[in-house]
């Protein structure tokens, strides 16, 4: 379980997060939703320690991440998998080497075992025959999926995904959503997903934190997200004609 207590984050004078409080539960898919520029990525980076919040704490099972000694921090991070919004694949390595990288660093598997694991992970994100290609030779969506495969290669205990299905076609987006749910439930891990994909919101969001301009506005789940009376949330959810029509039929 990851708890976020009163986090504030500034960039210079500009405040991006305002006293955010929320909880991400174990064994569940936890969503952070909000409009572009609302602070989702910044919050996620505060969770994994890439940004240090000016005030507030992030607790991993009760222990404050930013106060951990370096050794424990590294150990905790070895249990994290992260999929960046921009994929962040290592461009000097092939896809196979990319996915194998965490295995090289943190396991003592034989090359054979590692290959098998890599192929299994690539299979799960529906990527075939790309092992020997370099990231630059893949489409944006394929890079996203390769990054996802890298994120899950080590069976993380904490999985962080920054818009894992943006830029994917609806069908592949569904595949990733299903994968996120499967992994979370099978391995009983804590998964945090940034998204503004409404389909994900209503299908996989077991907890949902809605952020508006750096403020946590609403917390709930997929069952009550469509029927809340929070105006800002409704503005966000029912912004498009498609969802407006759904609302009329609710």
């Amino acid at each position: 379980m990851i708890e976020v207590n009163n986090i504030c984050k500034y960039f210079g004078e500009k405040q991006v997060l305002f006293d955010v409080n929320t909880t991400f539960e174990e064994g569940k898919v936890n969503l952070i939703i909000g409009r572009s520029g609302s602070g989702k990525t910044v919050l996620l980076k505060c969770l994994v320690g890439l940004f240090t919040p000016e005030s507030g704490v992030v607790l991993y099972n009760g222990r404050s991440f930013h106060d951990l000694p370096d050794k424990d921090k590294h150990a905790l991070r070895a249990e994290m998998g992260m999929v960046f919004q921009g994929s962040a694949l290592f461009d000097s390595m092939t896809i196979e080497e990319n996915v194998m990288f965490p295995l090289d660093m943190f396991t003592e598997m034989s090359l054979e075992e590692k290959r098998e694991r890599v192929n299994f992970c690539l299979e799960r994100v529906d990527l075939h025959n790309v092992n020997k290609l370099y990231p630059a030779e893949l489409s944006g969506g394929m890079q996203k999926r390769a990054a996802f495969a890298r994120g899950i290669a080590c069976n993380p205990r904490y999985l962080f995904c920054d818009e894992p299905n943006s830029g994917l076609d609806p069908k592949t987006a569904l595949l990733i959503d299903e994968l996120v749910v499967d992994i979370t439930h099978d391995l009983n891990i804590t998964t945090v997903v940034n998204t503004h994909d409404l389909n994900s919101v209503i299908t996989i969001g077991e907890t949902i934190s809605f952020i508006y301009e750096g403020h946590l506005q609403w917390r709930g789940n997929k069952d009550n997200v469509l029927t809340s009376d929070n105006e800002l949330l409704n503005d966000f959810i029912y912004a498009q004609p498609l969802t407006q029509r759904i609302r009329q039929n609710l």
Binding site: K45, V48, G49, L50, K73, H74, A75, L76, R77, A78, M80, M82, F84, G86, A88, L89, F90, D91, F101, P102, D104, M105, F106, F160
Partner: protein
């Protein structure tokens, strides 16, 4: 300005502390080290040898021109050329050349990894990116550059010899005589020591400027220029200091 400079120096020292921490996996570290040594060494060999031959040729011609007096024995040309080549031209000029060649490559590589969040990805995995990415480069440069300088000295002397042979300004025999006159191995040691220190400055400063980029591709160009200017400046200052200490 002063405050700014001091804070950058502090940042640089903290960066070095991160770079020189124990690599996470020694097998992978040695693999990377060998790879860097190979790519740096082979990548710079051609340019270093061409520049060295040209440099040796020019310095020999200039020296010969200025010592056209019957009072001074003609082996002086070889002696003076050798001394300048071994002690100053090769270690310093070639190190500066390598700042432009290897240094800017290091800044670009590390910097583009920063811009595309690859360094963040390493960090999240629990890997120390400074040590993982930079340490092999710094150590490789400290091994490869002195070797390159030895080759460079050899090529510069060859360049001088060929010039003498072709232009006939003095007899090759006298030139060779001067080259070997009063040879002190300590001069080579001095040259290698200088290069070793310069290699450290070049690679660590270049990596530092790439590593601390905050922003996009525009920053990358700026970081590259800064890295080259700052490391050249430090190298030239250290050149004075080391010379005062060692000679």
């Amino acid at each position: 300005m002063l405050k700014n400079t001091l804070s950058i120096i502090g940042e640089y020292i903290l960066f070095l502390k991160k770079v020189f921490s124990k690599p996470d996996k020694s097998k992978i570290f040695f693999k990377k080290l060998l790879f860097e040594m190979e790519s740096m060494g082979i990548g710079s060999m051609l340019i270093v040898s061409i520049v060295s031959i040209a440099m040796g040729s020019v310095i020999t011609t200039q020296t010969a021109m200025q010592i056209e007096s019957s009072w001074i024995p003609s082996w002086t040309v070889g002696f003076v050329s050798r001394t300048s080549i071994v002690m100053e031209l090769c270690p310093t000029i070639i190190s500066l050349l390598l700042v432009g060649n290897l240094g800017s490559r290091i800044t670009a590589e590390i910097g583009s990894m920063r811009v595309t969040e690859q360094i963040d990805a390493l960090e999240v995995m629990g890997i120390n990116p400074a040590s993982y990415l930079v340490l092999p480069k710094v150590l490789a440069a400290m091994v490869v550059n002195p070797i390159l300088i030895i080759f460079s000295i050899f090529f510069a002397l060859v360049g001088g010899y060929l010039t003498v042979l072709i232009t006939g300004c003095i007899t090759p025999y006298h030139f060779m005589d001067g080259l070997t006159y009063c040879f002190r191995p300590y001069d080579i040691f001095y040259a290698v020591t200088k290069t070793f220190v310069f290699a450290f400055v070049m690679s660590s400063v270049a990596a530092f400027y790439g590593y601390r980029i905050d922003g996009g591709a525009l920053e990358l160009g700026k970081a590259n220029t800064q890295g080259i200017v700052v490391s050249s400046f430090i190298i030239l200052i250290l050149n004075v200091l080391i010379t005062q200490i060692m000679l």
